[in-house]
């Protein structure tokens, strides 16, 4: 059954290799942002400041791993791509094929994510080995699982944004809002535990923390053992909720769809 999706995954991976400039732009963006933040932390720590429980080395590790995860999960602008497929009628051709639009979109995104992981994995983890005795095997497995969970959750959140095109017609603005909310409340700007308390509490009740903050907490040993597993369980629960919502909204949305391009 999954053979056809394997082909979609493979095609997406290979297509990503064609658009090398896009890969370079993503890398440039991430690297520049990393440089800015690292020098920002240097300037604060050099004058005797300290951000919460984080020492300088931990903050640098946080931002390196955060950039890596962001590159993977944001490999594709899912909300925009899916929104356009619905708006311009591209989805019509999938409706008449023995293929699930949800799975097709997921494996298409997974191919891009895998490409990013393959390209930047070594570049990111090699320097980390010098910075920290990173990962026991168990932590490594938990970290890999949490990053895969992040890819799935990010996909489902923005898949929901994309299919809301059925209801609103055009969701570029909504997508833009969600990108910014997800970037911030995932811990992409600043570790969530450094935010004002009220914002930290809000973020704890939302799925975004599983995109970046939670995988890094595992990697840095801030959560381990039972706590790490229960966190993963909560993330999986969020995934099931979003998956269910995606199924229901897609089914209802199809009833509103006017079939452009058929």
């Amino acid at each position: 059954m999954f053979k056809k999706y394997w082909h979609i995954f493979k095609n997406s991976f290979q297509a990503g290799l064609v658009y090398r400039f896009n890969v370079f732009t993503s890398f440039f963006t991430a690297a520049l942002s990393l440089v800015i933040f690292i020098y920002l932390w240097f300037s604060i720590y050099n004058q005797g400041g300290r951000l919460g429980d984080y020492n300088l080395r931990e903050l640098i590790i946080y931002y390196i791993v955060s950039s890596f995860i962001a590159l993977i999960i944001k490999a594709k602008d899912i909300g925009w791509v899916i929104g356009d497929e619905i708006r311009l009628g591209g989805i019509s051709s999938y409706l008449v094929r023995p293929i699930s639009f949800l799975y097709k979109s997921f494996f298409d995104n997974l191919g891009q994510a895998a490409l990013m992981a393959a390209i930047f994995g070594v570049a990111v983890f090699a320097p980390l080995l010098f910075l920290q005795n990173f990962f026991s095997l168990f932590t490594g497995v938990l970290f890999a699982a949490s990053v895969f969970l992040a890819v799935c959750l990010n996909f489902l959140i923005f898949y929901l944004v994309g299919i809301s095109t059925f209801y609103f017609g055009f969701v570029m603005g909504f997508n833009f809002i969600m990108i910014n909310i997800a970037s911030f409340l995932s811990g992409g700007f600043i570790p969530l535990d450094l935010l004002p308390k009220w914002l930290f509490i809000i973020s704890a009740w939302l799925p975004f923390k599983y995109l970046i903050f939670y995988p890094i907490s595992i990697a840095m040993g801030k959560v381990n053992g039972y706590e790490a597993l229960s966190g993963l369980g909560a993330g999986v629960l969020w995934m099931m909720i979003l998956f269910l919502a995606a199924k229901i909204l897609f089914k209802r949305g199809l009833k509103k769809y006017e079939g452009f391009g058929l």
């Binding site: 400039f21 896009n22 732009t25 440039f28 963006t29 520049l32 942002s33 440089v35 800015i36 020098y39 920002l40 240097f42 300037s43 604060i44 004058q47 400041g49 300290r50 951000l51 919460g52 609103f168 017609g169 055009f170 969701v171 570029m172 603005g173 909504f174 833009f176 809002i177 990108i179 910014n180 909310i181 970037s183 911030f184 700007f189 600043i190 450094l194 935010l195 004002p196 914002l199």
Partner: protein, 261 residues
């Protein structure tokens, strides 16, 4: 001149119509800008829970750099948004029609899509700048304000030059449109005072990618910490950069090959 005014007025009317035709999405997009701006402001303010100053700058001075970055960036986006449609014009050969109009093709290409949302977004940014200046607790003279506006004008001249270079490169190779995105990303350097970077990087961001001239110079002029040598340098740099970009544009135009004919 009145011809250009009439064209600009017409283009703004058309752009407004375009935004109004998708009101819900425009409102959502505007909210997205507010969300991004607010979150980053919260980020900067959060840092001041853990430190008294950033490389010698107080909380409100650091916020002023961030707001000036937004002012320079949003102003350029409001004015030059049309450049993002230039690649398609060249690719599809529509630029032929622009060239055949009795109007400067650069002017038309830049102004054809005034970003109304960014224009509105300027209101909260300017209001916050005024609020921050009041909170600074230091006397800001009329001269400082005048210099701030003057250096912002230089900023816009340099940004316009960067956009002209991007358009020129697009004529040479349509895929070079991504150049403008590299510029947009580089601009984010300006969200913080430049002194956080080592001097080598400060030189790069002053001379090669002039983000520091674009953002930090106006903020420093307002704070009264920019010396006159740098002020003169910024003036020469802005005019020189813009002049070179126009020269590159003229050369590029000679290489334009219509895609449609």
């Amino acid at each position: 001149m009145s011809k250009y005014y009439k064209v600009l007025k017409q283009l703004i009317t058309l752009a407004s119509g375009s935004y109004l035709s998708s009101r819900l999405d425009s409102v959502a997009y505007f909210l997205g800008k507010i969300v991004r701006f607010t979150f980053f402001l919260i980020f900067i303010l959060s840092l001041f829970k853990f430190t008294e100053t950033f490389v010698g700058y107080s909380k409100y001075e650091a916020v002023l750099f961030f707001l000036t970055f937004n002012l320079a960036d949003v102003l350029a986006q409001a004015l030059f948004r049309g450049i993002y449609m230039f690649k398609n014009d060249v690719k599809l050969g529509n630029f032929d029609f622009v060239l055949s109009k009795p109007i400067n093709p650069l002017f038309y290409s830049f102004m054809r899509l005034t970003d109304i949302l960014d224009t509105i977004f300027l209101i909260p940014i300017v209001s916050l700048i005024i609020f921050t200046v009041i909170k600074l607790g230091v006397a800001i003279s009329f001269n400082n304000v005048f210099l701030y506006i003057l250096f912002l004008t230089f900023s816009q001249l340099i940004i316009m030059g960067i956009h002209v270079l991007a358009a020129s490169l697009t004529i040479w190779a349509t895929e070079a449109e991504n150049f403008i995105w590299l510029y947009r990303e580089s601009m984010t350097v300006g969200r913080f005072p430049p002194e956080i970077f080592p001097s080598a990087l400060q030189w790069i961001f002053t001379l090669i990618i002039p983000v520091i001239i674009i953002v930090a110079f106006p903020a420093k002029a307002l704070l009264g910490v920019l010396n006159w040598q740098w002020a003169v340098f910024a003036l020469i740099y802005a005019i020189g950069f813009f002049a070179i970009s126009l020269l590159v544009w003229k050369i590029s135009l000679k290489h334009y090959s219509s895609a449609s004919s």
